[in-house]
């Protein structure tokens, strides 16, 4: 088994967390869009 010396890249936390927030907003938007279809279809 390879022993990988891993170190979290600098700035990774910020970038990952920013992207997660962005994706979370998109996913909420997609759910709202589906709900809107239920009201109007």
């Amino acid at each position: 088994m390879k022993n990988i010396n891993y170190q979290r890249k600098e700035g990774m936390n910020m970038s990952a967390e920013y992207n997660i927030v962005l994706l979370a907003l998109i996913s909420i938007g997609s759910q709202v869009k589906t709900l809107t279809q239920l009201k109007t279809a």
Partner: protein
């Protein structure tokens, strides 16, 4: 436009919450697999943890399959609402018990019980939703329900991130929260008009002596009915599709947190949580989009494309990624997005092919039989990891070819039977409205 009563929205809320907690309780183990088994087995070996992890996943999947069958049949006999309450209580109590496990065997038994409850809840929730919502709205309602699976997984990852490394027991303990929604179900949810009409029809026929053959079907054993010639082809094709998706999920995607441990060579609580959050945000968006995609390109193509793209993504991911970086996160996002679409499409499709009086059983069988096969594959995945010298990536890459089975099965998917009504449905049609004709179903898919 069909007017919606509050009961439609209560059914949607219950199905969404039930599925959310299914996702939460199902995912806890994949997140804590490595730390929990390391502690219970007293080892840090990836191969040993992988081997016992696979056995526990197999226990869970067999429980899930049996739960789908047992609770599905129960739902056809005693009703959807009662069955839903029992199944939710089973999986929440069992998840709580996982927190006090002292050995891997004990954990395996509790995970079996969690699977039993989750299998029941998912089958009954989807059927109940299909009875309350109709036409195009049904497609979107099922899609919306499925988004909660990803939300549940996302919540587990977020909780894990918040609680830190020594948290696997706390995480299982948090899994008892869903028991509270059974109170909401007791207070707010009632059986659908369709199911009430079916029960009334059964009651009225009990008083009669000379029943026609078609009328006798209402009392027939639903499991036996599902295996009749006209139902066998759709059943087998659906089983092949669901098996492919389930095997793929439990032998490929569920190993991703453990693979990240391997990639980083550390406990990687942060990295595992971030990866799962990204993947499940993808699955929320994928589930929400499925209703729209099915309406645009149809059921067959949606399933085929979903499996095909998941396979390609898995091959790229497991063969080219050698460290935890943003490339991995992008691939995981799209894996989550496409991998859920086939399951959502099948949830939409099952009520279109099986009659109302046997839908719970048919759904339980079609959607969960594949889990028994998946349980066998989960054991194989444990062996395969050991064969590949403890490499999760090589084992997952090899096993991801199971999606080819799903693509082939999707090509054989029969057209929904639409307006071919039997005697029971003719009666129900007069009580609660008509079933869509095949022409309506096809035209709604084409739009």
């Amino acid at each position: 436009m069909r007017k919606k009563s509050l009961s439609h929205w209560h059914a949607l809320a219950v199905a969404w919450l039930g599925c959310l907690f299914d996702g939460l309780d199902a995912s806890i183990f994949t997140i804590v697999l490595y730390p929990a088994l390391s502690e219970l087995l007293g080892t840090k070996s990836y191969s040993i943890v992988g081997y016992y992890g696979a056995i526990i996943i197999a226990f869970f999947l067999v429980g899930w399959a049996l739960g789908g069958l047992v609770f599905g049949r129960l739902a056809d006999q005693v009703g959807r609402v009662k069955t839903l309450i029992i199944s939710i209580l089973v999986y929440t109590i069992a998840t709580g018990l996982c927190a006090i496990s002292q050995s891997w065997q004990e954990l395996a038994i509790y995970r079996f019980l969690v699977g039993l409850g989750i299998g029941g809840e998912l089958s009954v929730g989807a059927i109940m939703l299909s009875e309350h919502w109709h036409g195009r709205q049904r497609l979107h309602a099922v899609s919306f329900m499925a988004t909660s699976w990803g939300v549940g997984y996302f919540a587990t990852a977020a909780i894990s991130l918040g609680l830190g490394q020594a948290s696997w027991r706390n995480l299982f303990a948090a899994g008892v929260i869903p028991a509270l929604i059974t109170l909401y179900i007791r207070l707010r949810l009632s059986e659908s008009e369709k199911f009430v009409a079916l029960q009334n029809y059964r009651a009225s026929l009990r008083a009669e002596n000379n029943l026609k053959d078609e009328q006798r079907k209402v009392f027939a054993e639903p499991l036996k009915e599902t295996f009749k010639k006209e139902m066998l082809r759709p059943l087998l094709v659906i089983v092949a599709i669901t098996s492919s998706g389930i095997i793929g999920y439990w032998t490929v995607l569920s190993w991703i947190p453990a693979w990240i441990n391997q990639l980083t060579g550390t406990a990687a609580t942060y990295e595992r949580s971030v990866a799962l959050m990204v993947m499940n945000l993808g699955s929320i968006i994928g589930a929400a989009a499925t209703g729209f995609i099915v309406l645009r390109i149809g059921r067959k193509l949606t399933i085929g494309l979903a499996f095909g793209l998941t396979l390609i993504l898995c091959q790229i991911m497991f063969n080219t990624i050698h460290s935890f970086d943003s490339q991995l996160l992008i691939l995981l996002f799209f894996c989550g997005l496409f991998s859920i679409m086939s399951a959502v499409t099948i949830c939409i499709y099952v009520p279109e092919v099986f009659p109302l009086h046997m839908q719970g059983t048919a759904f339980g069988l079609a959607f969960n039989f594949g889990r028994i096969i998946a349980a066998a594959f989960a054991l194989i995945s444990g062996q395969l990891i050991a064969t590949f010298n403890g490499s999760y990536a090589l084992a997952a890459s090899a096993l991801s070819y199971v999606y080819v089975l799903g693509i082939l099965a999707a090509c054989l998917l029969p057209t929904p039977r639409g307006g071919r009504l039997n005697e029971i449905e003719k009666h129900l049609k007069n009580s609660v409205g008509k079933r869509p004709t095949p022409k309506e179903i096809v035209s709604s898919s084409a739009k």
